[in-house]
């Protein structure tokens, strides 16, 4: 019973969003907020799609490229930090990790200035660079904890068999890390897709990701609520689908977010 009540609390907003987004603007008034629409109107989605398609494309490009780059680099870092430890690694790793907890406001002004200086301010590539760099700590952490499970004996045996640094990675570590990649890719994709602070400070109108566009649309005063609601659904769909289809990996990434993994 309590569970059903709780589920209602979690699902109530979903109901309201869907209902509102399917009403014609004239039918949306505050008194009948909770009622089902009398006419099912898909027009809001068409309009929202037309307005948001370029922003969704920005977000997709940004998230795919930045996720791929930070996952590959994170995998290499995790491999090195778990299997090729060097003096000082115990200091370097926490210093790297700290980067994922800082409030990004504390690096935003120099970052803004830096991107302007190298001519990447306002472009998607500037944002990609940003997400790759600040994604490194978490991808490194997840991969390091993941690779710690690979027995050192296996690495040692490969070394005896003559495999070098890259040979061990490409023949042993990489083939074993498919599910590690799935966890990291899901996590990074979701984070980057949902990110807002960098997006709102480092892009221009034409390179805005979806979160910024949605915030602007919903923040404007004279807007009918059906449109932001349809927009919210469009912005939420990719990450929601990932969550529903690959929930197992999603939860693993989420639990890995706390340092011990």
């Amino acid at each position: 019973m309590l569970l059903i009540l709780a589920a209602a609390f979690f699902l109530l907003p979903v109901y309201l969003v869907l209902v509102t987004s399917l009403k014609v603007p004239g039918e949306i008034n505050l008194a009948t907020t909770w009622q089902l629409p009398t006419h099912w109107n898909w027009g809001s989605y068409v309009t929202a799609w037309e307005a948001f398609a370029p922003k969704l494309r920005n977000s997709l490009f940004l998230a795919v490229v930045a996720t791929a780059a930070s996952a590959v680099m994170g995998s290499m870092n995790g491999y090195i930090l778990s299997k090729w430890r060097f003096p000082g690694a115990n200091i370097v790793f926490p210093l790297m990790l700290f980067g994922m907890f800082i409030p990004y406001q504390s690096i935003l002004i120099p970052l803004f200035q830096f991107l302007r200086n190298i001519g990447l301010y306002g472009s998607l590539w500037g944002l990609i660079l940003t997400h790759v760099v600040y994604g490194l700590p978490i991808t490194t952490l997840i991969f390091r904890n993941f690779y710690a499970e690979i027995p050192d004996e296996m690495i040692e045996a490969a070394r005896i068999d003559g495999a070098g640094f890259f040979g061990i990675y490409s023949r042993i570590v990489f083939p074993l890390s498919i599910s590690g990649f799935v966890v990291v890719i899901i996590w990074q994709f979701t984070q980057i897709w949902n990110e807002f602070l960098f997006a709102v400070t480092l892009t221009r109108q034409s390179t805005q990701p979806i979160t910024v566009a949605l915030a602007q649309l919903a923040g404007g005063e004279a807007v009918n609520w059906n449109l932001p609601m349809a927009g919210a659904v469009l912005a939420a769909l990719p990450t929601l689908i990932i969550y529903i289809v690959l929930g197992r990996y999603f939860i693993r990434g989420l639990l890995a977010g706390s340092v011990k993994g």
Binding site: L3, A6, A7, F10, P13, L16, A31, T33, M73, M76, I80, L81, R85, N90, P94, L95, M96, F98, I102, P103, Y104, Q105, S106, I107, L108, I109, P110, L111, F114, L136, P137, T140, N145, E149, D152, R159, G162, G164, F165, G167, N194, F196, V200, T201, T211, A218, W225, M229, A232, A236, T239, L240, I242, Y243, I244, G247, G257, S258, V259, K260
Partner: protein, 528 residues
């Protein structure tokens, strides 16, 4: 029992051949042919020991009598030079597949540089190894991530070519993070000490001319009457964090406990409770902004079951409760620290650590004295300034709890699943009621999880930005937080120095939470 395992890669060209080869190797004939040449002993009890040399015979006897024998990692006694040249031979062999050539080359290297390190050369019948690492049998208690490799006793810590490659491959990440995290933080700190933004002509210059102000921007934030908004932001963050944590931990724990009882449809419920976590704060904010409209949404919900509608102005309320004077803060904080220290001292005494207790008690006394002598009369501001909890935050806190409590639930659920059933059974047999079971057995075991959840959620709440932005707009004083004010000052008003000072304060708050956390969790790892 001793076990050794071999992996057969998927899609290997001739698996049967591999299996036959391994079977042959394991047979008596295979073992007794191969081992004497290789210098190993046979794990078979029926081996013909006369084929082996004196050392191997003695080792084999030990082995058959179940004596634990220290052993070394394969290749640990080989010379570094041999190993690196041998690696080259093997990589050539990988492509050429010419085994005869490889064998000859390996032999040539062995003749040329020698096979064993000097300190491992035979001496009598035993190997003189510096404290043989117990690699086989019991695994070292250290986890893999400790930096203490079983054989890293100097020999392999030398910079081999692979090790240099490893460091080179890590270097780009280290350099990037060194610049983008630490370099930029340093730069932000520098900017916060300047006047960047006061001169409009310099504000957006690519290379602005800055003048040094020292800590003036910080002093302004805490003691200049103009900056009252920042101080209210700090108070907002304080209340937001407390209530957000209480909501997430309470709801998350409640849901986890409910789900832990083998309910039907558990997977479905879990999915429902956790899905908001996959959403962007901006999406959540947009949705809840609509839910919390004063004339609609939540406020009309009661009318559906015949109750009067609510009148609360969720996001625009101007009511402030729990008000206090900013000038009272030094005294109150001093008193608080003194009380906490006194409690710690009392605990130390009770545990019999008299000296530590005395030091802490002294500190408590000094802080308390300071609070009464200095703190009570200190006036950071020339006149009283009231701050308190803005009720406009309640709706934002609800939305934040809606989004994040599923995460806490997942953490707690993982913890609950880790508690062995026997423990619960034992408590039940002892006559504990369900309530007592949770209160005295399960909750204490979940303590560490609560702590890490508090730290993760706490630092999120200190940084909260997007959610407030989407729900109440970026420039709405009643629901302002430092993270937003920093954005407004820097990127709307171009007051970069003031923005940087706010950012540094924010960083210090987050670091105060995160650094102890990183320190203890990574140190705990080494101990494990």
């Amino acid at each position: 029992m001793l076990a050794d395992s071999f992996g057969l890669p998927k899609g290997a060209p001739d698996p049967q051949n591999t299996m036959d080869w391994l079977t042959l190797l394991g047979s008596k004939q295979g073992q007794d042919t191969f081992n004497p040449l290789k210098g190993s002993i046979s794990p078979r009890l029926d081996s013909d020991l006369s084929l082996y040399n004196a050392y191997s015979q003695s080792a084999a006897k030990d082995w058959q009598n179940d004596t634990i024998v220290g052993s070394l990692v394969h290749g640990a006694v080989a010379k570094e030079a041999f190993m690196s040249q041998f690696a080259d031979v093997m990589s050539i062999y990988e492509s050429s597949q010419n085994s005869e050539q490889a064998a000859n080359a390996a032999q040539a290297i062995a003749n040329q540089v020698g096979l064993y390190q000097e300190r491992f050369l035979w001496e009598g019948a035993r190997i003189r190894a510096p404290s043989p690492p117990a690699r086989d049998g019991a695994r070292l208690p250290l986890r893999d991530s400790t930096g203490a490799h079983a054989h890293s006793d100097g020999s392999s810590m030398k910079l081999t070519r692979d090790r240099i490659t490893a460091i080179l491959m890590l270097l780009p990440s280290i350099v990037l993070l060194a610049i983008f995290v630490y370099g930029f933080i340093g730069r932000t700190f520098y900017v916060s000490m300047t006047d960047w933004g006061q001169d409009p002509s310099q504000a957006l210059a690519l290379h602005p001319q800055l003048h040094w102000l020292g800590f003036k921007n910080y002093a302004d934030l805490f003691t200049n009457f103009i900056e009252t908004r920042f101080r209210q932001d700090l108070v907002n963050t304080f209340f937001f964090t407390i209530l957000f944590l209480a909501g997430c931990l309470g709801l998350g724990l409640g849901l986890a406990v409910l789900l832990d009882r083998d309910v039907k449809g558990e997977g479905l419920f879990r999915t429902i409770f956790l899905f908001p976590f996959a959403l962007a704060f901006i999406v959540t904010g947009t949705i809840w902004r609509w839910m919390l409209q004063p004339q609609g949404g939540i406020n009309v919900l009661p009318t559906l079951i015949g109750l009067p509608r609510l009148q609360f102005r969720w996001l625009t309320s101007r009511t402030q409760v729990l008000r206090f004077d900013w000038n009272d803060l030094p005294f109150a904080l001093g008193l608080l620290v003194a009380v906490v220290l006194a409690l710690l001292a009392w605990r130390a005494f009770r545990k019999g650590r008299g000296l530590g207790g005395a030091v802490i008690a002294l500190a408590a006394g000094l802080v308390g004295l300071w609070a009464f002598a200095v703190g009570r009369h200190s006036q950071p501001l020339p006149f009283p300034e009231q701050h308190g909890f803005n009720l406009a935050f309640i709706g934002i806190i609800i939305a934040a709890v809606w989004q994040m409590s599923g995460y806490t639930m997942a953490l707690y659920l993982a913890g609950l699943r880790g508690i062995p059933e026997e423990l619960r059974e034992a408590a039940r047999v002892d006559g504990a009621s369900e309530w007592q079971l949770y209160r005295h057995v399960i909750l204490p075991l979940l303590g560490p999880i609560s702590l890490s959840a508090m730290i993760i959620l706490g630092h999120i709440s200190l940084k909260i930005f997007d959610l407030v932005f989407a729900m109440a707009g970026p420039d709405h004083p009643a629901t302002d937080v430092p993270a937003l004010l920093m954005y407004l000052r820097s990127f709307r008003a171009n007051q970069f120095a003031q923005g940087a000072a706010i950012a540094v304060v924010l960083l210090i708050m987050v670091a105060a939470v995160i650094i102890p956390y990183l320190y203890t969790s990574l140190r705990g790892e080494v101990r494990r």
